[in-house]
């Protein structure tokens, strides 16, 4: 499992990428999905997840859908049209960042 500092900077990107690839998801589902996809290497902490989800909603990047589940309410999140664009930008930026880090830390010397 990676340290929370490493995950913190990528949280928005992870959430946006996951949500833009599926129809809608709720908070617990997001954490489980990430855990499943990374084989438990990345576990989103709830303490960071919900503030980010609420902020993204307030910014109009995410829209929500409220559904009654048993005795409680469940909030489903989905990406708006502007959010999809931002998700794409975030992923591109991050991929560029990774390339730079690989080069900077000399992890995989460039061939040729």
């Amino acid at each position: 499992m990676y340290s929370s500092e490493l995950i913190k900077g990528t949280l928005k990107t992870i959430i946006l990428k996951l949500l833009s690839e599926s129809d809608k998801m709720y908070g617990y589902e997001i954490t489980q999905k990430v855990k499943e996809l990374t084989g438990g290497k990345i576990q989103l902490t709830e303490g960071a997840l919900y503030p980010t989800l609420h902020a993204l909603e307030a910014q109009g990047i995410l829209s929500t859908d409220v559904v009654n589940v048993g005795n409680r309410i469940r909030k489903y999140y989905s990406v708006t049209i502007t959010g999809k664009q931002i998700a794409k930008e975030k992923v591109n930026e991050y991929s560029d960042f990774i390339d730079t880090m690989i080069f900077l830390l000399d992890l995989k010397p460039k061939m040729g």
């Binding site: 908070g27 617990y28 919900y50 902020a55 409680r72």
Partner: protein, 411 residues
Amino acid sequence: MYELSKDQVDFILEDVRRNGIKTEELQLSLLDHICCVIENEMSPDKNFDDYYRSVLPRFFKKELKEIQEETDLLLTFKHYYAMKKVMLRSGMFSAITFAIGAIFKIMHWPGASVLLQLAIISISFIFLPIFFLIKSKEVKVVQQKFIIGFGVIFGILFCLSTLFKIMHWPGARFMWLLALGVLFFLFLPVFFFSGIRNPDTKMNTILSSIMVVIAGGLLFTLTAIYGAKYKEEAIEIADLHLKNVTIFASSSLDDKTNKIEIDSLVRIELKQKTEKVLNNISEVRNSLYKYLGEGKSVNEEELLMGYRNDYLSCHQFFFKSYTRNPEKDLPKEILIHLKKELKTYQSYVNQYFKISSKSILNLDNQNRTFDGKSVKTDWEHIYFSVTPFETIVRNLNQLEIDIRLIEASCI
């Protein structure tokens, strides 16, 4: 899969609330999440209470309300970057407009006051308020928030008092004194005592405080007490004078016994003498305009447009030196000459028309208070010493009206 009862769900919701989660949205989000964790991850043989207690720490480092604080922070700073951008742009705009406006003003080009107004309005109503919002969120200590707050209030009042002053709107002086009050009695004490406690900032705090006191004090001495006191006094004198003239004019018109048959020759002589004195007054006025216009012949309107109301320049024109002491400040030839002419005219009128013009034109020495002590002051000093441009023009105009009144009452 474990199934939660309604009581258990209510218990979790109540516990989340109790632990400092205030907004309903967040309460419901966390409730669903905790319920999901328990339903999916707890084996049916385990105790609900124990499991719940063990799940909860996954949500925080120290306390559950961290989530609420983090959410609040992210939500309040929703417009952070937009605000920062507006702040920087309005700051740049104000600085550039102010610099250009100042150059225009010095050069007496048209448009100076529009530029200065724009700069001051954007700095006091856009830049400084946003500066306060952003900076006060960035600092954690309460005193620091107060320092920023008082600083911003001082800044806004200072800018607005400058605007009011250059636009000649009423209230500039009051606002300026209020700004100084905020600076000296609110900003400085908080700044000084909070900074001096920290050994790292002690030295800088003392130095900054000294500089603030010096700069504020200098501005205060330059603007607030001196000019305003004299200006108001001068206006008061002019107004009293006008009142006297009106009373005299109406009483002399009523007084039928004073009427003398005047033959046309005397009438012509009176007219000539009157014109001569009036010419003298115009001469004084024109040479003052020329002096303030730096050698170029300009009129009153142009001078007022350029706000050349500096009482020191006017004083320098009428008196050789600047000492603020009526006994040492010697009037220049131009004033002595005018006074002589006025006296000649006065005695001529007294002699031939038996009219005492004293109540209109009082050229005698009077007792005036300077720095708390009563000093015998001559006519030149009362009307021309340390007096703003507008008031001097007003006094000269008044003098012309007085002469005309005397002439009218003779005929």
